[in-house]
Amino acid sequence: MLERDDSTPTTIALRRLAAGFLAGIALPAAAAGLPAPETTPLLYISGAIAHPNVGEEAHFDRSLFDDLPRQTLDTATVVTDGVSHFEGVLMRDLLDAVGAEGDKAVATALNDYIIDIPMQDFHEYDVLLADTMDGETLTAQDKGPLWIVYPRDDHTELQDIRYDYRWVWQLERLEIR
């Protein structure tokens, strides 16, 4: 389970700095830019990013995705029964890895679902970009390959339909604005 962070602007800035520093240690390549994907990308990130690896965009294949720090999250969802166990990377870590600078992320799914998510969410909450659920890899025939999961059980304010629509599954593309 993840702990909630205090989210004053100062702490956010510090955390970004620290995250960037840690990312630099974990991903020596990041400092010199993301390596290019070697297989079919899972996720395309475009817009206001500092570290593109394919043209203006950052493309993550499975291997690049797996290089990010892994996190787990146990929470219930509005479309399944009981508490599910999710694994993946923090949205915050992912966006830091690409040097995203913006107010919102426009998330687009394989099923053409398009939604705006405030970047603030990723700093205030430990929002996970999950690729497994209950130990099984998510596929495009279910909610995969990637599913944005909020720590719903840890924060009562997240148990709200205005957050429920931000749980984008079959995530394919993020555009930072």
Partner: protein
């Protein structure tokens, strides 16, 4: 009042309980509505179904686009998306929702159709319309099922929304009713409060009126009491007697002016507030009668006081009902004086009566013997008078005359004694020199007896002043001198000595006669007593008795000092002229 008290508390309590109950009910209802509005599972279903529909149509579209040669078409992706949509429909809440609507079979059927489509995906190619038709044949019932499900979900949602609106309306109406109830309760409480305030004001008004009435009543009573007090004070002030009133604590509370008049220093010695004991002590100090001395502090008291230079007062102390005491002093001097005058008059009358009785007794007792002597002498002269010689007859006449002379003396002595008995003789005491008085008596006795045996001796030249009645002193000395002459031999001297000592002044008459026995000395001054060795001399035993009486009414005395065979000394004692003045007032 008891029957009013219960509703007075029950009604507000009821209103407050109702208030709390209605408020709780309203809040619960509002919270229920809020929670009800948050549950949005069913609202999401329409979106899920419509997206599944869109996915199914997109798959069909992409299959045909690829068949028509559009290389950008990606039917496999659309297949995955449709599968994903159906998986979502098959999950937990969505599955239960559809089962409730009776569409579980259609969902399962949809998965079967997807399973039969999947192997054909790889066979889709341009100019292969048969595959596309085959896939379309599978998709068409699926799309129709999804369409029906969408319709049913829409109807269900509208129904649910309608029901929810009904519930919300009911809840709203209930809340409105509760609010109305709350308002009524509030109004009831306010009305009760206003009523209570009004009652309180009325009670206060009634209380104030009652208090005013009481004050008026108290004022009136106070005035009456004050008037009564003034009357009492006026009555006490004008009373002929002195009054001093003490309160229940024994403190002096009131005196009248008469008290100050009666006891000039009373106002100084009896200040207001002093104790009853103190007042009695003051009165005791003023009093010289002594009747108040030793009188214990009692509730009631009555005694006579004699105040110097004022007279007699009668003290009466009574206790009042409230435990206080009143002392009354009445001037009874006139009554006392009248009483004393009456007492004296009575004594005098008694004295006169005693005088006559005593005189009669003495005459009857003492006069028989000389009368018998005279009678027998006269009988003898009558019988034998002629035969008697002249000389003898003369002797007999002489004896008769002696007897008559004795009787004459006896009458004088008896009168004097009777006067003394009856208190008829009073001493007119003055200051006089004893020496010339004694000299005159000595001369008179010497002349009467024809002897010169009496020798007067005076120790000093200064006058010997005594407080006495000269006539009575002369009578006493005459008696003492005649006795001395009578009871001593003719050749012995009679010595008269004048002098003074601590007891007063004295005049001693000393003879050198036969003396008096000690036994007789004790009775010497008794009336009619005659010493055993004096019977040879005529006498009746009245002289010394009278002499001592006369000495005593002058506050003097006579004592005797005698030795048989040697002589006898009688000593008349009288008070000093200076010392006797103080005793004047006590003389009877």
């Amino acid at each position: 009042m008891v029957w009013r008290r219960r509703p007075a508390y029950a009604l507000p309590a009821l209103a407050m309980v109702a208030f709390a109950g209605l408020l709780t009910f309203s809040l619960v209802r509002l919270i229920q509505v809020e929670q009800d509005m948050r549950s949005n599972v069913s609202e999401n279903m329409l979106w899920v179904i419509s997206q599944a529909q869109v996915a199914s149509h997109r798959l069909d579209e992409e299959v045909h686009r690829l068949t028509l040669g559009d290389q950008a078409a990606r039917p496999a992706l659309r297949y995955d998306v449709l599968t994903s949509r159906l998986v979502l429909l098959d999950e937990g809440p969505q599955r239960r929702y559809l089962e409730a609507l009776g569409f579980a079979e259609q969902v399962d059927d949809a998965f079967e159709r997807l399973a039969s489509i999947e192997p054909q995906l790889d066979a889709i190619a341009p100019d292969a319309p048969r595959v596309a038709d085959s896939i379309h044949a599978e998709l068409k019932p699926l799309m129709q099922d999804l369409n029906r499900i969408a319709n049913a979900v829409m109807v269900e949602e509208w129904e649910a929304t309608g029901e929810r609106l009904d519930r919300h309306r009911d809840s709203t109406l209930q809340v409105i009713a509760s609010v109305v109830g709350l308002m009524l309760c509030g109004l009831a409480l306010a009305a009760l409060l206003i009523g209570a305030l009004r009652q309180r004001r009325a009670a206060q008004q009634a209380l104030a009126e009652h208090r005013d009435q009481l004050e008026v009543e108290v004022e009136r009573r106070t005035q009456d009491l004050e008037a009564a007090r003034h009357r009492v004070v006026a009555a006490i002030d004008t009373a002929p007697d002195a009054f001093a009133a003490f309160d229940a604590d024994g403190r002096l509370a009131l005196v009248n002016p008469k008290l100050t008049q009666m006891l000039p220093d009373a106002s100084r010695r009896l200040p207001l507030g002093c104790s009853l004991e103190h007042a009695l002590t003051v009165l005791r100090d003023c009093d010289d009668n002594g009747e108040l001395d030793g009188v214990a502090h009692e509730r009631t008291l009555r005694c006579d006081l004699h105040i110097a230079e004022l007279g007699w007062l009668q003290l009466t102390m009574t206790s009042s009902r409230d435990g206080g005491h009143v002392i009354r002093l009445a001037d009874i001097t006139p009554y006392k004086q009248a009483s004393e005058a009456l007492e004296r008059a009575l004594q005098r009358e008694r004295g006169v009566s005693d005088f006559y009785r005593s005189f009669a007794a003495m005459v009857s007792h003492q006069f028989r013997t000389p009368l018998a002597v005279i009678d027998s002498g006269l009988q003898r002269l009558q019988r034998r008078g002629a035969s008697l010689a002249d000389e003898e007859r003369q002797q007999r006449y002489q004896r008769l005359r002696d007897a008559v002379a004795h009787m004459t003396r006896l009458v004088g002595s008896s009168l004097t004694a009777a006067r003394l008995d009856g208190g008829q003789i009073e001493a007119a005491s003055t200051c006089c020199d004893l020496q010339p008085l004694a000299e005159r008596c000595c001369h008179l006795q010497a002349d009467a007896s024809g002897s010169s045996r009496i020798q007067l001796r005076h120790q000093e030249d200064a006058p010997l002043l005594a407080r006495c009645d000269p006539i009575l002193v002369e009578q006493i000395l005459t008696n003492l001198l005649s006795n001395a002459l009578k009871y001593s031999p003719d050749d012995t001297p009679i010595e008269v000595c004048l002098g003074r000592d601590d007891l007063g002044v004295y005049c001693a008459v000393r003879d050198h006669g036969r003396g008096i026995d000690n036994v007789d000395q004790a009775r010497l001054f008794e009336r009619f007593f005659r010493s055993s060795n004096a019977t040879d001399q005529p006498g009746i035993g009245l002289g010394l008795n009278i002499a001592r009486h006369l000495a005593r009414i002058q506050h003097g005395d006579i004592d005797v000092d005698s030795h048989p065979g040697t002589g006898t000394t009688f000593r008349l004692r009288l008070p000093h002229a200076s010392a006797a003045t103080t005793a004047t007032g006590e003389a009877p």
